[in-house]
């Protein structure tokens, strides 16, 4: 018996409380520093310390519920939440999240849930890491030379499709006119990934809002957090109901660590330039990506896996 260890009946193992607090603190620090949810880093780290992957993913969703609550409240006070857009993304997210939990349940029975989580990570981290790295490198170079006057852009195929979708409506807070179908579809897409990967979806949702919905940046962060909060509540309840994989004591310890880390990270972040922050984050994302990729292609130590993921 140790005061620094706690038995988690859902994970069926005892964990070092200080180690889990430390993980929360480290991911919270990065999250405060770079303005991302941190779920995409938390789940692999929990797997590395011996939490079964399916419990790690579900518990991380529970942790994000707490982390996004305070953020949503702060942004709501500042008027940075587009509730209409958020609700449509949310409806899509709930449908997608429910579908994602169902997919995980079927794959767990087949014994390939963990493989799917890993493949999702490898693909998403690879794409996002490479994109962020390239973009931040470009903006670092641009900072040195002044850019020429912007060229007039031709309307893309995507823009034409979006304009021709039915049920166009105004989103006052974002200053946009879009079809209600677009946030519904994109919300569902992020919801599926969030359920499978055990992340809030922020690191997918933010680029989706910026590049596909073309929302202003200040509204993106608040609306993303608003949507993530509700999506993760849904994912937490579904995972607890269908898969019995949510360990809320573990989530609570992580939450305490990550909240403190986020405060420290926010203060540290003010001392660095945006481009420097972005390229640092891209390097971390690519490092996690490489680790996950190695896990998929390298010969495992043990050539057996449990069917139920435990």
């Amino acid at each position: 018996m140790s005061l620094f260890h706690m038995y988690l009946p859902i994970a069926g193992n005892s964990v070092d409380i200080l180690l889990i607090l430390g993980l929360g603190l480290a991911v919270g620090l990065l999250s405060g520093l770079f303005g991302v949810g941190g779920g995409f880093l938390m789940t692999p780290l929990l797997i590395m310390v011996g939490i079964p992957p399916t419990v790690a993913a579900a518990t991380d969703s529970n942790q994000i519920v707490g982390a996004s609550t305070s953020g949503t409240l702060a942004h709501f006070r500042l008027g940075n939440v587009d509730v209409k857009m958020g609700l449509l993304l949310l409806i899509g997210g709930i449908v997608g999240g429910t579908l994602g939990v169902g997919i995980i349940k079927v794959l767990r029975a087949m014994g390939n849930a963990n493989l799917l989580i890993q493949i999702c990570y490898v693909v998403m981290l690879g794409v996002i890491g490479a994109y962020m790295f390239a973009e931040s490198l470009q903006s670092l170079r641009k900072a040195k030379k002044e850019t020429a006057a912007p060229e007039a852009k031709k309307e893309s195929l995507y823009s034409r499709i979006v304009k021709n979708l039915p049920w166009q409506t105004d989103f006052e807070r974002s200053g946009l006119r879009l079809s209600v179908l677009l946030p519904l579809i994109l919300g569902a897409f992020v919801g599926i990934l969030a359920a499978i990967m055990g992340v809030g979806g922020g690191f997918i949702m933010v680029p989706v809002m910026v590049y596909l919905l073309r929302m202003p940046m200040h509204v993106v962060v608040g609306t993303s957090l608003f949507q993530i909060l509700f999506t993760c509540v849904d994912v937490t309840i579904m995972q607890a109901w269908q898969n019995h994989t949510v360990d809320f004591v573990l989530a609570l310890i992580l939450l305490i660590g990550s909240s403190v880390g986020a405060q420290v990270g926010t203060k540290l972040g003010r001392k660095l330039r945006g481009d420097q922050l972005k390229i640092l984050l891209a390097c971390i994302v690519l490092l996690v990506w490489f680790q996950m990729l190695y896990g998929l292609v390298a010969r495992p130590d043990i050539l057996l896996a449990y069917v139920k993921g435990h």
Binding site: M1, P9, S14, V246, F248, A251, R299, L304, Y306
Partner: protein, 252 residues
């Protein structure tokens, strides 16, 4: 007179036989007699004490219930990605198997204790494979269980007292892993002498969830929707509380 002699002989032979039987018998006492898995449980140590014939060695086996374990063999697909493919079932494999011996396990195998160590499980565990066995799946199974800390061979954790009346006392400290699940376990003391097993003694040991883990597991498995809702609610309240404490501007 003949009858009296016969009775005397019979009494003496019964007495000497029972003394020999008593010498061969193993006394076994466990401490604690039940294991509580509470909030701060991080594995525990069970002490097994008793006595064995003075010229024998004792082996202590701590084993869990047997149940089929369903697994899949990992194999490379397309020469690139490792995937879980053919299913394998291990029948009659104990959930936990911790074997303690005063002597080394190589010495034990040659000294009559073969089958008592982990290698001996190969005889009792039945392996059913869906496809071809690409590797020695039993060896992989042992590797996995050892990595989880659920299967162990420990030597040097048993001490003996001074022999008296043909018996010697023993004291074994059995370390149990933090991954211990609630259930009924068996502790078995086996006396090994002159290349064979001369006696065995068994005791049951119950491990049960207590306190917060017990309440949490009951809620999570018996009322999962309520559990999920409570988990979300607590996270929201904690998030609000922490946000207020730090006057958070929502770094997440």
């Amino acid at each position: 007179m003949k009858i009296q002699r016969f009775i005397l002989l019979a009494v003496l032979s019964i007495f000497s036989a029972s003394t020999a039987a008593a010498r061969d018998k193993i006394g076994l006492t466990l401490s604690p007699q039940a294991i509580g898995i509470g909030t701060f449980f991080n594995g525990t140590t069970v002490t097994a004490t008793g006595s064995v014939p003075a010229d024998s060695q004792v082996v202590i086996r701590f084993t869990g219930d047997t149940a089929p374990v369903h697994m899949r063999q990992k194999a490379r697909v397309g020469g690139v990605v490792w995937m879980n493919l053919d299913s394998v079932t291990f029948e009659k494999a104990p959930s936990v198997c911790i074997v303690s011996s005063a002597a080394g396990f190589n010495e034990l195998e040659t000294g009559g204790g073969e089958g008592l160590g982990l290698a001996g499980l190969r005889q009792s565990v039945r392996v059913k494979c869906e496809g071809n066995q690409k590797v020695d799946v039993f060896a992989e199974f042992l590797k996995m269980k050892k990595k989880e800390g659920l299967y162990r061979e420990i030597s040097g954790n048993i001490s003996y007292g001074r022999p008296a009346d043909g018996l010697k006392t023993f004291r074994a400290l059995i370390p149990l892993p933090s991954r211990l699940k609630p259930g009924t376990y068996t502790v078995e003391a086996v006396a090994v002498q002159n290349g064979g097993i001369i006696s065995r003694s068994r005791q049951k040991l119950v491990a049960e969830l207590r306190g917060a883990p017990s309440v949490m597991a009951a809620l999570a498995f018996d009322h999962p929707i309520l559990y999920g809702a409570i988990a979300s609610f607590i996270a929201v309240i904690a998030g609000l509380g922490i946000g207020l404490v730090f006057q958070s501007k929502g770094a997440h």
